[in-house]
């Protein structure tokens, strides 16, 4: 969980970096919602599966990365 990192405050630092990455992705038009951080331990298998499913649904709703389309257009 948040704060229970074996590297002391590694997951707090990671949280801040993920927030920064979200902000950059928002600014450049890719969308910060495509990056998400979850806290859990290696023993929480079912929770991991639940988060993975959640994120998959979210991404399916958001659609493919806009860069894929842009890349294809530029190659054409």
């Amino acid at each position: 969980m948040e704060g229970d990192c074996r590297f002391n405050n590694g997951n707090i630092r990671a949280k801040k970096r993920v927030a920064q990455a979200k902000q950059i992705l928002d600014t450049i038009g890719i969308g910060g919602e495509r990056v998400q951080m979850y806290n859990l331990s290696s023993a929480e298998g079912p929770k991991f599966a639940q988060y993975a499913v959640e994120m998959t649904h979210k991404i399916e709703e958001l659609g493919p990365n806009p860069l894929k389309k842009a890349k294809a257009k530029m190659a054409a």
Binding site: T27, I28, A70
Partner: protein, 223 residues
Amino acid sequence: MIVAEKKPIEEIIEEVEGYKKILIAGCNECVTVCEAGGKKEVQVLASALRMYFMNQGKDVKIDEVTLERQCDHEYLEEIRNIIDQYDAVVSLACGVGVQFMAEKYFSTPVLPGVNTCFMGVTEERGIWTERCQGCGQCILARTAGICPVSRCAKRLLNGPCGGSTKGKCEIDPNVDCAWQLIIDRLKALGRLEQDYEKLTPIKDWSTDRAGGPRKVVREDVRI
């Protein structure tokens, strides 16, 4: 060191409008320490710009380089062979480096990627504060190592003003009164008599920025 802050990406995007081949140039010194313009920041900015332009359907080449410094000839010379490949450079060095690069490569637009703020210290990771304003006549020997020019809002030289309250400056309750700090420190050093009681005469401000752009010449080291 010189402390700077990253410019917002939106501002940099505006600056590079229209250029097709851009070099992002970082600096390995001060701006690396204050996490604004070092190799890491160059990588992040270059990556963000590449994604932005691709998303816009624009074909823009973005390359990266990080020089040791951008305020010495020999380091700037390192890009002489490649600079003509680019139609603009975004320099993440402090204002000094941006200008020196622009002077050296005057036919290539050199754009700033950071806002240069002050000469200061890392109080802790993520917090940088001002310490020196380069007045050119250091009196730190008389003020227990605390500068009234950079840290006193009024730049007073002979003690606090009437606005000093509970050790804080009247401009902001979070700003220490420099003179309170000086007096406390002089007391601790046992030098109140020698340093505080003796009046400091009117300062010669001609060596401060008020005197115009400055120069230091050392004939003894000139070749």
